[in-house]
Amino acid sequence: MDRSFVLSRIESLSEKIQRTQPSEVDVLARIHTDVSDLAAWAKSEAHPQAADVMDCIAAAIEKIILADTPDPVVTLQAITQGIVAFQTFVRDGSIELGECDAIKTLLADADAERIDGAGASQTIEADIGLIRDFVSEAREHLHNSDIHLLTIETSPHDIDALNAIFRAFHTIKGVAGFLALGEVQALAHESENLLDLARKGELVLTGGYVDLTFDAIDMMKRLIDNVERAINTNEPVGSEDGLADMVQRLKETVEGRLIPEAESIPKVDVSDGRVGEILLEQGLVRRSKIEAVLQAQSTRTPSKLGELLVKHVVISRRQLNEALEIQRAEGGARKLGEILVSNGVATWEDINRAIDSQEKTSPEPIGAMLVREGEVAPRDVVLALRAQQMHASASEVREAVKVDAERLDRLVDLIGELVIAESILRQSEAMSAVFSPQHASQIDQLGRITRELQELGTSLSMVPIRATFQKMSRLVRDLGKKTGKHVQLSTEGEETELDKSVVDQISDPLMHMVRNAIDHGLEASSADRIAVGKPAVGRVTLRASHKGSSIHIDIEDDGRGLDRNAILAKARERGLVQEGRAFSDSEIFSLIFQPGFSTAQQVTDISGRGVGLDVVRRNIELLRGKMEIRSEPGQGSTFSIRLPLTHAVIDGMLIRAGSERYIVPTLSILRSLKPGLECISTVAGRGEMLTFQEDQLPLIRLHELFAIEDAARDPQDAIVLLLENEGRRFGLLIDELIGQQQIVIRSLGDALKGTEGIAGAAILPDGTVGLVLDVSGIMKIGVDPGPGSDTRVRRSAA
């Protein structure tokens, strides 16, 4: 084994072990193999100490597997520490003898506890003074965390507050590890994991997550109390009821198996819905106290730099005191920030951040001040804040007016007509004949108002995609249970708005794809994931965003990725592809949208019944949208949906063929090109073909299809649009590209509805009607002539 391989192996091992529970015997067994291999490697590299540590770890794992250890959780922690130390060793090339011994002792201690018969309790051996410092420091951190959590309740994305809480737990974990306070360390570790997810934006700290964090802080406070009691009485640290449960809850939440419930919100009946009023109404605080706090709020002085740094857990109070001491000794020659930086406890970045926030701090909210004064429990403030929000949203509803949907549609239609009328007016020749500057500014004014009306009209029927995404998170939870896979769903861009009718129609396809991602995308089990060095918990991400005049929705999983070869083999078996030519990834991936195409090895309860992605794609295309797939083997897949912003407005390319003009939906156009004669050939039985980048694509002449007499016949005078539909590409021969524009698409009317090759109509800026080409219809009549939809099958069989 070479070093880089060992390093990658130990890294995945280290990650694996941190997520493993003592009950997961099969995982432990695999870890045991890894550890033994690594021990052998360390021996062969002549690192007896490191090999020794790994041997001890291997022995300890065996004990957990055989249930021969008093507290497997403690043993597992010791093992984890050992593996982390080994990881450092592999990376840096050296291991300290002391550390080896420490780990061996840790492992031995974990094992020895049964002999003591002391259960999970621990005795304190470390320096009493250090522990006293730790207790007071931890209390300060926890107290500050309470207040930061209040900030997060109102603004869940406040990264400063998140970082501060994270650092608080991180610091506690570090010191507790040093002082061998196992319980404190275990709790801090899991809390830190949860906060880290929030920090990385992988979960949003709201509702139940905030409550869970409060629970963790409260539990931690009790543990710290126990530690203090133990040093005062010189007795072993008492164990705390519910700790194991708490750690378990945190762990499951981090792994995405548990979604914590938010506490029920108190019913309040107050007129102005202010936090203070709500707390008063619940009898949690006295009015005199609130008034005193409000008074303090108005006469508040800005916080000092040092205090701010301590509050955000950048430095500890001890470090602050040391720095202040130095400053005093030097007679104030240097600024506090300089001293802190030169002491290496803070960076300039930290200092500048703190100075920034010092300058712009707004008065602390009343809730936070009451908590700081110890008047109310932070949790009560959070509940009051939630009640306030309910109150606010309840009063918002009262201001809304219910409008008949039909009237709304009519309004939106009329606005559409106004937009058209305005653009006709603007472009009319009669207008330019009577042009004057005054006139122009009036026309501009009309244009602005029209544009605003159009935006307003569009927004009337827009709703955020949040509710749909929330539906998916329930689905993921249920599916996770059903399949036994551990899945975590994260969502981004929930506030992205799209047309109400689109939201209704996107829900089913999305659900289908999420199902697909979990059932087919993710590995069959956590063990399979661990085996390839991925986190045990599978991740599915839903992402929505606006780009230009379209909406992008991505469904991403970190599973196996699409299997090119399996898809191709299946397609060959079904005769869907021509033999003997190379395919691009996107061509292969788009094959999975073919009806009845499933590479699932077996039909499961959830998906794989043959009603598949073809339905999804049809639904998306009905919304005039488009789908794309990106996939890396072993890394996962991303299904991207692109949809026009609203049902009615699409981006179109105005084209000309002879004297006729048409509109082609821009989403269908891959590119345009000027064909050389050598690119066009006639293949017997298949009509005209266009050679494009080594591919033979069907070529359709629009003028032939639509019997346009005055169009260019010579391809050299023409332009070919490369179009894509249902994953198949073809060329469309036209005369000229006129330009791109947004159009309001409307039906051709009952009388002409169903005209082949035409999707609808739009009013062009010159007031005439333009026809919107139906790309799939054109392909059907141009490439697959003949009745029925089974043409393709027959052709490929022939």
């Binding site: 007509e417 299809l705 002409l752 082949e756």
Partner: protein, 175 residues
């Protein structure tokens, strides 16, 4: 006044006669003959607007127009009735009529040579549709109105513009 224009009945001789056709008709000229459409079917009369051709439709489907933001199909009545086409004149115009659709009324424009007037036709001025000798297929005719020395062909416009007819070539082409 409510009239049932569609209602026709057969008499003992198997002749189709109009049940109750008396009423007001918009009359127009087509190839030097006078035709009438029940005035209640007429939505409006507009001059010739720029027409966008719709491909893969029967020859009599002239195209679509923008009628104040609405897309309305336009029919060449001459072509529909198999008459010679003629150059548009100053008098050529589009009569927009409301015909019965699948669920609601559909607006369709018909191109006529010239609109003349609105005539009231009483019961005693009506004659049954001739079986022969008319330039228009008898199934499209409700009856003949005789006003003074003029014969007015009263059209069953719902039948003339029966909406399935407009995209008929599609079925014909693929059958």
């Amino acid at each position: 006044m409510i009239r049932e224009v569609h209602e026709t009945e057969q008499n003992n001789d198997g002749e189709i006669v109009a049940a109750d056709l008396a009423g007001q008709y918009l009359t127009f000229l087509l190839d030097r003959e006078i035709y009438g459409i029940d005035i209640l079917k007429v939505q409006e009369i507009v001059g010739l607007l720029p027409v966008t051709k719709v491909p893969r439709t029967p020859a009599h489907v002239h195209g679509v127009i923008n009628l104040r933001g609405n897309v309305v199909p336009v029919i060449q009545l001459r072509a529909k009735f198999g008459m010679q086409s003629q150059e548009d004149t100053r008098k050529t115009c589009i009569v927009v009529v409301q015909v019965a659709g699948a669920s609601k009324g559909i607006a369709i424009g018909i191109i006529v040579d010239e609109v003349s007037e609105v005539l009231s036709i009483a019961n005693d001025q009506l004659a049954p549709a001739p079986e022969f000798g008319s330039s228009v297929d008898a199934v499209f005719i409700l009856g003949i109105g005789k006003v003074g020395d003029r014969d007015i062909v009263l059209l069953d416009i719902d039948r003339v513009l029966s909406w399935g007819d407009l995209t008929m070539t599609r079925q014909a082409a693929t059958a």
